[in-house]
């Protein structure tokens, strides 16, 4: 029998590790793979180089009119000149601090809620859905000594954010009620909730917005013309709460049956069971789903252009039809796309981060 002698670990052969090993494994592992690498690299080259050239190298960024666009590439002056319009719509210029303040408050709350280990999270969260909307409304609309700014002057990115946030904040409680109703053992309640949810989920948002703009006025007594933005918001909230109900239902289903049985065994009433045991846990599971619906809603708010409310996309389209600035649709639409993308992408990253954190939470 061989005598045993321990062998020291040796470094892996060079073809396995390091840059060469990596490239061999990931780019050139076989002949078809190599061809794919070369082809995609070539495609990337012929697309990216002209684009970067157009958008950055030969582009103009600052100036007052189209005469300042001389370099031959993208004319970002189109955007920079109208920056305020794209951000605030026709909001009075001397009151820009009001939406700014509302936005900064929002960011502060979100940071507080998302950074782990900060205290008073519960209270900040409750304030975020109760006090903050009132404060933000007063700031944006006016009252309490502030000048009234009617909603038809709201626009741009500000309006996009307002629509998305109001939609989600109002939809959450309605969605929770609908989801609980759908799980209810009372047939009438269950049926009403199912019909409500399936109806709004079954039709496209655009038909709901049409409905809100042409049918809704007929529903009010005396034919009062409610605020146009208000009507659109009602439509968005109905649509959104149906989707939210499904997210909540998913969260409730993910909760183990033992939690419900445990609460029942302790003799808690239905609402005690929901408020103390079920919803706090389910809400935690639901946060990624809520963020995902927020992303969809954020993108969907762009549809209100079709009924003539000017969010950021609407402002860009209006600017594009300005006779003094004809011919810059690429710049305009790319800018709007970039703004939407920044918000949606960061939200989706955040939701993935949350999901990861939740997953490890479950495992431990």
């Amino acid at each position: 029998m061989d005598k045993f002698t321990p062998i020291e670990s040796r470094p892996a052969p060079l073809v396995e590790v390091g840059v060469i090993g990596w490239m061999r494994k990931n780019l050139f592992s076989s002949i078809p793979n190599t061809l794919v690498t070369l082809f995609t690299a070539y495609m990337l080259w012929i697309v990216l180089v002209p684009f970067i050239n157009w958008a950055f190298i030969t582009s103009d960024w600052f100036g007052d009119s189209r005469q300042d666009c001389t370099s031959g590439g993208a004319c970002w002056v189109f955007v920079t000149v109208r920056w305020n319009l794209f951000m605030y719509g026709f909001y009075p210029e001397d009151s820009y601090w009001r939406p700014n303040l509302a936005f900064i408050l929002l960011i502060a709350i979100l940071v507080w809620l998302s950074v782990p280990n900060l205290p008073y999270k519960k209270w900040v969260g409750i304030a975020a859905v109760t006090i903050y909307p009132v404060v933000a409304f007063v700031l944006l609309y006016g009252g309490f000594g502030l000048d009234i700014v009617p909603t038809h002057r709201w626009g741009g990115l500000m309006l996009t954010l307002v629509l998305a946030l109001v939609g989600i904040v109002v939809a959450i409680p309605i969605g929770i009620l609908l989801a609980l109703g759908r799980r209810s053992e009372m047939p009438v309640i269950k049926m009403v909730c199912v019909i409500f949810i399936e109806f709004w989920r079954g039709v496209p948002l655009i038909t709901i917005l049409f409905m809100a703009s042409v049918m809704l006025p007929l529903f009010f007594a005396g034919g009062t013309d409610a605020d146009k933005l208000m009507r659109a918001l009602i439509g968005i909230v109905m649509f959104q709460s149906a989707y939210m109900a499904e997210v909540v239902r998913g969260g409730l289903q993910a909760l183990s049956k033992g939690q419900f049985e445990g609460a029942d065994a302790l003799g808690l009433s239905y609402w005690q069971k929901m408020n103390l045991v079920v919803l706090p846990q389910a809400l935690k599971i639901m946060i990624p789903g809520i963020v995902n619906t927020l992303i969809s809603l954020f993108k969907d708010t762009s549809l209100i252009v079709i009924i003539g409310i000017l969010d950021i996309l609407g402002m860009v389209r209006q600017a594009l039809s300005d006779p003094a600035w004809l011919g810059y649709p690429a710049e305009g639409y790319l800018f709007a796309a970039f703004m939407f993308w920044i918000f949606c992408f960061s939200m989706s990253r955040y939701s993935i981060y949350l999901e990861d954190r939740l997953n490890t939470g479950h495992r431990n």
Partner: protein
């Protein structure tokens, strides 16, 4: 060590790395036809990696592996050739959940061996009888217990009529009362003369059927011997320590 032909598996100075981690270090191993080998060692010692290299589920970077006269390299034809002759049973069974037990067993014979379906089914039934579950043939894996699933997995491998069987911790994922039914099948198989390499912690099985026990640690074969000598008179300190832990309780 007389005739090269006698060995059905030869590993010659095999080395493998995961990234920079050196998992297998200069492994030399010769397996004779009909030999039954049990491989043991602490977790992370490289024992599973070693048998997974034999049918190229893992790729080794240095050294030579020859199975039944075919050299294992990057040639897809050789790999396919070897995999036909080498059966493998996994810790987590890896049955195909969308196929019935019978279909699980006939899939490879039909598509790899190009066997007519009737014949493949007859063979499958023969092996299902040998693992004592012919009555479950038309059920889906999800409907069986863990022990039954593992026996199906063994039958599935046998249907390919392999010359060598590899077992990668076949009883580790099973509840205690099911381990015996799987081990019984394996013992029977061993007694019929199948060449087997078996990674397991079941020392009783090793004592009962193994021709040779191999102890691995830190990517090396530390000690190999006949079971009698291995268990009663271990040479190295690490083996002693390991045996005291495994047999101690």
């Amino acid at each position: 060590m007389t005739n090269e032909q006698e060995f059905i598996i030869t590993l010659n100075k095999v080395n493998k790395w995961y990234g920079q981690f050196h998992v297998l270090k200069d492994i030399n191993l010769n397996v004779k036809v009909g030999e039954r080998i049990v491989i043991c060692g602490p977790s992370g010692s490289g024992k599973s990696t070693m048998i997974r290299c034999i049918n190229h589920l893992e790729e080794h970077q240095e050294g030579e592996i020859v199975v039944d006269g075919v050299v294992l390299n990057n040639d897809l034809k050789n790999i396919g050739q070897i995999r036909k002759e080498v059966g493998m049973v996994f810790q987590h069974f890896n049955l195909f959940p969308h196929l019935t037990v019978l279909q699980n067993c006939t899939l490879a014979p039909i598509w790899v061996r190009k066997m007519p379906q009737k014949e493949a089914e007859a063979i499958a039934m023969k092996y299902l009888e040998r693992v004592k579950i012919p009555d479950q043939a038309h059920k889906y894996p999800g409907q069986l217990s863990g022990g039954q699933q593992q026996r199906v997995a063994i039958a599935r491998s046998l249907c390919m009529n392999p010359r060598v069987m590899l077992f990668d911790e076949p009883t580790s994922a099973l509840d205690p009362e099911m381990i015996k039914e799987v081990l019984d099948v394996m013992v029977e198989l061993a007694q019929e003369g199948m060449t087997m390499l078996c990674v397991t912690h079941e020392m009783g099985f090793a004592k009962k059927v193994a021709d040779r026990v191999i102890f691995m640690d830190a990517g090396q074969i530390i000690e190999q011997n006949e079971p009698e000598a291995f268990f009663n008179n271990p040479q190295s300190d690490r083996t002693k320590l390991f045996l005291s832990q495994v047999l101690g309780h």
